[in-house]
């Protein structure tokens, strides 16, 4: 009896202690959030989000969730949530790139405890900061560029390349020291971004392998023009162009990387005059987004064959049964009813078994169709997009597995955001609703590498293809000096080694369907690229029983790999 009383008291004391400590930990917790670049973003594009947690007495198990409220009816909005961090959370800054949707209502950021209790929350109203067009982001010290640029510190730049989606061009005017951000900037450039680098004497502060890979010079060196004024020079890389010069020295040099550009200003921002800055600004190309893949997915989904038996089969069987019955009726009038019935039943059994066998061979009608187009551009950096298209005959819920914080974004812009467009993202999975007979397109971005590798000799006369995963390809093209060549396939794979003389030049009109898809997916930027590129196309599809209804899943993989010199 006494023992149980002691046990009870201990339990009560422990519970009280837990409660007090939880309250103490939670009472002073504060959240601060920032959406976009300097608070600026574009609807239906990714936006970087920074959430700063402060005041936690001790680390807590929980998650940080960002909720956006969308829908035509502001009094009853639909919630789109993104979990940007989970696990043991401490005081500090948590970053992610999340898709920005309506944002007419303030977004809600919550620190959620292990049992779902909200430990702290804050709201962020970005309605006034939403921009209609891509904008210039200056990381570091700024000088007037038209007054519309967004100014951030280099240390605040996001480390996911897709977070730069609303950026027209990124100007790095102060040294960027974070390697992960350099990688992200490189990947963004590869996917179509436009980067402006100011160098001069600042070069040594931000010099790193990732930065060097982006420069239009190999072996860059600093040359002192005047006391304190340095100029970055080096051996120009193939494809680099001097766009502006000053005093017979290059001032602005540009090179293409993947689908994007790097524009190098050879001096520091402080050493550039206002006039030169305006000249430079006028020559910076706008970033491009890899939207060709979304268009491919939409076309591919529309062209996806419906899994069903031959349509004429059902009418043919119906007609046969009706004619059989009429014949039976006429025969039974004149001859034995029993014999006629037996014949009719035998015919019905044959028709049923034949129909069953045919139907079994075809399988059930597929109610849900999904297509995943993987588009991978690989040069010194790798940028990958997964473009998904979904269609269902009945309402369904579609899960998409993705890497941590690689949240999918709606790829087709809705005319009106309807409340049934539900979306809920955890760190590694997003579930979206798919109303009946509706198509939905989403895109995720990542950095996973290509399966193929192209090795070319210095003179581009001999090529070797490495394919360590033994992937198959339905089509393969080689892009050399602005022209496309068909790569010979052996057993569904490009030949390991071949000479330039073995290749057959193909134009858009003489390409196969898959080759043409490859061509259209990259022609708008690859045509201006120097370098040698391998383009591969692979597609596969299968019908699976699905959790609730049969599903046809198609996979298209397009890889665009820059050749490496051997």
């Amino acid at each position: 009896m006494r023992f149980s009383r002691v046990l009870m008291r201990t339990a009560q004391a422990t519970a009280l202690l837990w409660l007090v400590s939880a309250l103490a930990a939670a009472a002073s917790v504060t959240l601060q959030s920032q959406f976009g670049f300097d608070g600026q973003l574009i609807r239906f594009r990714y936006a970087p989000v920074r959430v700063e947690v402060a005041g936690l007495a001790a680390p807590v198990e929980g998650s940080i969730v960002v909720k956006q409220f969308v829908g035509a009816d502001p009094s009853n909005p639909s919630t789109l949530s993104h979990e940007i961090a989970r696990g043991r959370l401490e005081n500090g800054v948590y970053q992610a790139a999340i898709p920005a949707y309506d944002l007419l209502l303030p977004a809600l950021v919550q620190l959620v405890g292990p049992d779902g209790e909200v430990l702290a929350s804050t709201t962020e109203s970005v309605r006034q900061a939403v921009r209609g067009l891509p904008f210039v982001v200056v990381a570091g010290e700024s000088r007037p560029l038209g007054g519309t640029e967004s100014i951030v510190a280099a240390s605040e730049l996001p480390s996911d390349w897709w977070a730069y989606e609303p950026v027209q061009s990124l100007w790095l005017t102060e040294p960027l020291l974070d390697q992960a951000v350099w990688e992200a900037v490189g990947e963004w450039v590869t996917s179509g971004g436009s980067l402006v680098l100011f160098s001069g004497s600042d070069f040594y502060q931000w010099d790193c392998p990732a930065a060097r890979a982006l420069l239009p010079f190999s072996a860059p060196t600093l040359r002192e023009l005047a006391p304190g004024a340095f100029l970055l020079t080096g051996t120009p890389r193939t494809g680099s162009q001097v766009l502006l010069s000053k005093d017979a020295e290059p001032l602005l040099v540009r090179i293409q990387h993947g689908a994007g550009h790097v524009s190098l200003v050879t001096t520091r921002l402080q050493d550039v005059t206002d006039t030169d800055l305006q000249r430079i600004s006028a020559r910076i190309p706008a970033a491009r987004r890899p939207v060709a893949v979304d268009r491919l997915t939409q076309e591919a989904l529309n062209k996806t064959r419906v899994v069903r038996p031959l349509y004429a089969f059902a009418p043919a069987v119906v007609l046969a049964v009706i004619l059989g019955f009429v014949a039976f009726h006429r025969r039974a009038l004149r001859k034995s009813f029993a014999t006629s019935s037996a014949l009719l039943l035998a015919a019905v059994v044959v028709a049923t078994v034949a129909s069953g066998l045919y139907v079994n061979r075809v399988g059930s009608i597929a109610y849900q169709y999904s297509i995943n187009t993987i588009f991978c551009i690989q040069s010194s950096f790798t940028a990958t997009c997964h473009s998904y298209g979904f269609f269902s005959l009945a309402s369904a819920r579609v899960p998409i597995d993705h890497d941590k914080r690689h949240f999918p974004i709606q790829a087709d812009v809705w005319v009106t955001t309807r409340s049934q467009y539900e979306l809920r993202s955890t760190l590694t999975q997003t579930a979206l609703s798919l109303p009946a007979r509706t198509r939905r397109f989403v895109r995720t971005c990542g950095t996973e590498g290509a399966d193929w590798r192209l090795l070319a000799t210095e003179d581009d006369r001999t090529f070797r293809i490495e394919n360590p995963k033994a992937q198959e390809a339905t089509a393969a093209l080689l892009f050399v000096d602005g022209l496309f060549y068909e790569v010979p396939l052996v057993d569904g794979r490009p030949r390991d080694a071949f000479a330039f003389s073995d290749l057959r030049h193909v134009s858009a009109s003489s390409m196969t369907e898959q080759e043409f898809l490859l061509y259209t997916s990259c022609i708008d930027w690859l045509a201006t690229s120097a370098g040698t590129w391998l383009l591969t196309y692979e597609e596969s599809s299968n019908v699976s029983p699905g959790e609730k209804m049969p599903e046809k899943v198609s996979l298209v993989r397009i890889e665009i790999v820059e050749g490496e010199r051997t």
Partner: protein, 227 residues
């Protein structure tokens, strides 16, 4: 009276043909005609096996009640007619077997069994409706009245009155499954518990068997009385 006449006279042929054409049309329209996904947006159409089974239930009920209502004046013929009712319904059910086999493509393979269950259920309900129709028509025959309105009312009551139980509290809601329409819907939805499915089958089975036995003994008595 010849067997052929027993099966097809007095509208039997037309009712059977109407059933085969009607259900065939429902089946053909249930199949998605779209060859590619984009075609679904040109003319929206959702494939569903429910349409076929509701057509089968409705036209099967018309056929069964037509056969039940074809009451002959002679007690001996009438007895034969009653005994042949299950066979007449079974013949029609057998004729639609190829349709059901095709209909299975409209559902995931693991749900195909439900379609055969629904097919059997429709057959059972139609036999019961045939016997009910026979009883009502025989009574109307004695009173020299046309059986159409009583038959119509009974068919409507059997199908729709139990649906009122849908508004009742949860335990009593099962009574709605007495209605063939509700039972078919529940069956094809694929998530009905076994108890509900068993109840759905038991109602027409016990009702049909009971009425069949009672009617048979009454028809036999009429025959004996005439002798």
């Amino acid at each position: 009276m010849k067997t052929h006449e027993l099966f097809f006279d007095r509208g039997g042929y037309a009712a059977t043909l109407a059933l085969l054409i009607g259900t065939g049309l429902a089946l053909v329209l249930s199949m998605p005609w779209a060859g590619r996904v984009a075609d679904f947006f040109l003319f929206p159409w959702t494939p569903t096996p429910v349409a076929f089974f509701f057509a089968l239930a409705a036209l099967g009920a018309v056929h069964a009640m037509n056969r039940g209502a074809a009451v002959e004046p002679l007690p001996r013929t009438r007895r034969r007619q009653l005994l042949s009712l299950p066979l007449q319904v079974s013949l029609v059910q057998a004729l639609v077997l190829p349709y059901v086999a095709i209909c299975t493509v409209l559902l995931p393979a693991r749900h195909a069994g439900l379609l055969w269950m629904a097919w059997a259920y429709v057959g059972l309900v139609n036999i019961t409706l045939g016997v009910i129709s026979f009883r009502i028509s025989a009574r109307c025959f004695h009173r020299a009245r046309h059986p159409f309105f009583p038959l119509f009312l009974v068919a409507c009551a059997y199908n729709f009155v139990p649906l009122l139980f849908e508004f009742a509290p949860a335990p009593a809601r099962t009574a709605a499954l007495v209605s063939p329409a509700a039972a078919l819907w529940t069956m094809l939805a694929g998530d009905a518990p076994w108890g509900a499915l068993l109840f759905s089958f038991l109602v027409p089975f016990s009702l049909g068997l009971g009425l069949f036995l009672v009617t048979r003994s009454r028809v036999s008595k009429e025959g004996h009385a005439l002798r």
